[in-house]
Symmetry: D3
Subunit: 196 residues, 6 copies
């Protein structure tokens, strides 16, 4: 499927013209996913910001944490949903489906996490993440209590809030540059493994 629609409002560099470290990162994700998610191409327009962006992303999304990788993607999808970010909802929705091996949860969480097939603990996690995303100035000590009641440690809570904060940045960049999701993401994780 060829996509001739622009993937950014700004110029997108050819892979061949990217700095070596960025080219290596692009090659790595291409190997792993079978395609290059557009965020790696569009943000390469600014190599230093690219490097910081993915360093930050990896620091939060790959670290050892009391949150599973699927739970971290739930935070991304829920907060990207309230920020109306097409790229992030579609791309991270796909990743969420894959991690959770659940074809339904991404659409549920993107639209209204209260109706999603998730645990009460995950619901408390998303309620806090959405407060960080939409009304962080009102956070008070009482907001931490339901999280602790569900067994989240202080480090887990930092993770929840920091992921919500990082995607506050990411959603705004994607919306500003009108980043287009790769078509591959729309179907990813929706089919049983065998039929893929």
């Amino acid at each position: 499927m060829t996509n001739t629609k622009p993937i950014s409002r700004w110029p997108v560099p050819d892979i061949a013209d990217m700095p070596a470290d960025i080219r290596a990162r692009v090659a790595e994700v291409q190997d792993k996913a079978g395609f290059v998610p557009n965020v790696f191409l569009t943000l390469a327009h600014r190599p230093d910001e690219f490097r910081a962006f993915f360093a930050y992303h990896d620091a939060l999304m790959l670290r050892d944490s009391g949150l599973t990788k699927g739970e971290r993607e739930m935070i991304v999808v829920a907060t990207s949903g309230v920020n109306d970010c097409v790229y992030c909802v579609v791309a991270h929705g796909a990743i969420l489906r894959v991690y959770e091996k659940n074809p339904l949860v991404a659409d549920q969480v993107a639209v209204n996490y209260r109706k999603a097939d998730i645990t009460p603990r995950q619901r408390a996690m998303l309620a806090f993440a959405l407060k960080v995303a939409t009304d962080s100035a009102s956070i008070e000590p009482g907001d931490f209590e339901p999280l602790r009641a569900h067994g989240f440690s202080d480090e887990d809570i930092w993770d929840i809030g920091a992921i919500a904060a990082f995607f506050a940045l990411s959603n705004r960049m994607a919306n500003m540059i009108s980043m287009r999701p790769n078509e591959e993401f729309f179907l990813l994780g929706r089919l049983p493994r065998a039929s893929k």
Copy 2:
């Protein structure tokens, strides 16, 4: 003036216990500013995120740009104002006063940029930054027109939006951890040089 109020809801590492590169960064800012802004201490709780955060910050705030450093700080102060972030309004307000050699502009921009002593070009810049901060999903091609009419290049516009996006992250982190501004910031840049 000794401050015994906590500067974060999370543990703050002793400088001696920080990784060498972070310690070096702390020493550098201490040399330059005469004190260590609390953001360097509180975020050091997570070294990898600290490194990514300041790499991102520097990529945006130190690069060659069509925006002056003062204009970049205006964006920080205006967007931190709508996000009700005490740390960022106070700390970046101080930096803005210093860069602009103007003791009034930070308080004006923090409360309502429409009443600030800035140029029409700077007003257009802040209107766009605030749209990125508060309603990025509604950005449409028409939003770029007033910026271009004021002579901003596409790279300048990326800078405006990316700074607003980066401080969307920063404000949310500061609000979540309840980051306290150093007392030095409150007065900085308010007095004529001689009397300091």
Copy 3:
């Protein structure tokens, strides 16, 4: 795939216990779609309201109109997106994909129609539909002008607004009763015909 999750907060009648006309409608949709969308089961709890609901639905969605059936579903998906209605986004997203033979458009329109692969005329249509959905009291004569400029007749405009208004009802009912979308909808229209 068996679903044992409740599909409504209220009792759901057995098909065998439904009045004959409703049973016939259920049989008809079962024949056509291969499954019974949950809205037909959950709303059957109140037969008179069921009849009025589907009579209204059919009057709007099946009538001869200057809007294609796909365009009408775009209105449903866009307004259900702003109302955070999981059932309507998922179920009507599926129908939209089928009508438009486009696996991408539903997710785009549900999150942010400004980024969707639709025509400028359709974009004007959705802008008006969203104003009816979210701020109908502010509608003024000027709101009709972009629609007329795109060739919409007064009857077409009634259709746009009436569909947005009808799903204002539908979204609220689905949210109140916590109507669960059938799992079939999530994948429908996402695959090329042949592979289904």
Copy 4:
């Protein structure tokens, strides 16, 4: 008092040209009320939608219910107030005054039900109705508890929410077509019976 102001932005059919069943409905309401409320004239522009609209209305407003007819009109007036619908506030305000034999309650409920001369049970009813009207996506199990504490059955709660949902539709149609209330409604129910 002759009113020559338009009652809709769309064409309004002559009664003589309406289908027989609609003409009959119009005659019936004329007999009962002494005048034809404009909603019967303006919506007759679309006979199928007219039939579904009034079937839905009657199913909710005339059924046996744990809510009195006056209470149902309170829901209409309160939700139409937040939706800024002049027709519905004025017309249903009149009906509310008549049912409740209370010349004050409609204006109170339309502006702020918290200050109205109603029972705590009715106040809980309106709080839920307004949540359905303005924020149905956030409805959670806890929202049902105050209603049950006041003795509302599950069927009563459906009625409350369904009336709020139906008038979400009705308010949006009236606002879009700029439906004008009959002048008779403004005074109806404000005077003691004898003086009418």
Copy 5:
């Protein structure tokens, strides 16, 4: 008609116990209106604030102005409507009906001035008043242009905005103390003179 409902959450002084100047003012309004509007009783709880309140009120509402007294009451009713103030909508709605000799206009303006039987000039006046009431920080030079185009002088514009500002105070006080409107207001100005 005796009203035993409290008219304020705070103590209401007996008229006999009020300072002489306030008692005189109460007597004057009693003579003129035939009853004492509750605002004169409830605010007398604080004599100095009472005096300043009515001095301000009179300065705005009684002065020579390019706005008629009816137009000034339109501003009160429209802004009190968006502030959901039962006392002010009901009491000033009555005064508006009397001044305009129009039994319909108050209910129209209170719910949605866009649908009211008023002139385009009055509509521009209310649009500006509502901006002062709800979003004064965004007022920019461009907001004055439609007013000037309709012939409002700078002094008239001050009147529009100052009345909106004064009732921002008044609405908040009435809401906080839960000021109850006199029952007389509900009917006032709704009947032709002769039948009163």
Copy 6:
């Protein structure tokens, strides 16, 4: 420092041309503060409104009260912050610093009182004041309970709400006329006494 920027969008009278009582008031504040705050000059454009404004102000801000003068200024600064009023934040921020002999508290309260160095009692006071400022229609008996728990009397609560209400007026006037704060205010109260 000479300021040639306009201090109002409306004409500002020369002091010599003001009525004697207003001139006296201006002289008094000049003596006390060492300069004439611009609110005394800009509002003198309308002498009667000037008199009522300052009578109201003094009645609230100078009366014996369970609130200290510093606490009353906290209310002004917090509510002016949410109303984005540059004049009131800057001018009353200065007064707050002076009364509290605290160079930090004004900036904290203006941006987010939850992070300010104030007592829990003062935090409850500001939470109520902000509800009066932003959502007075929702005030219910329960809103008074935390205030009483902190020992505020009914008269104290009136003071809190009335100050918030008065500055609702003041902020809107200042925003409409674009009242410019005197440059003296920006630094006032920021330095230890000795160095002034």
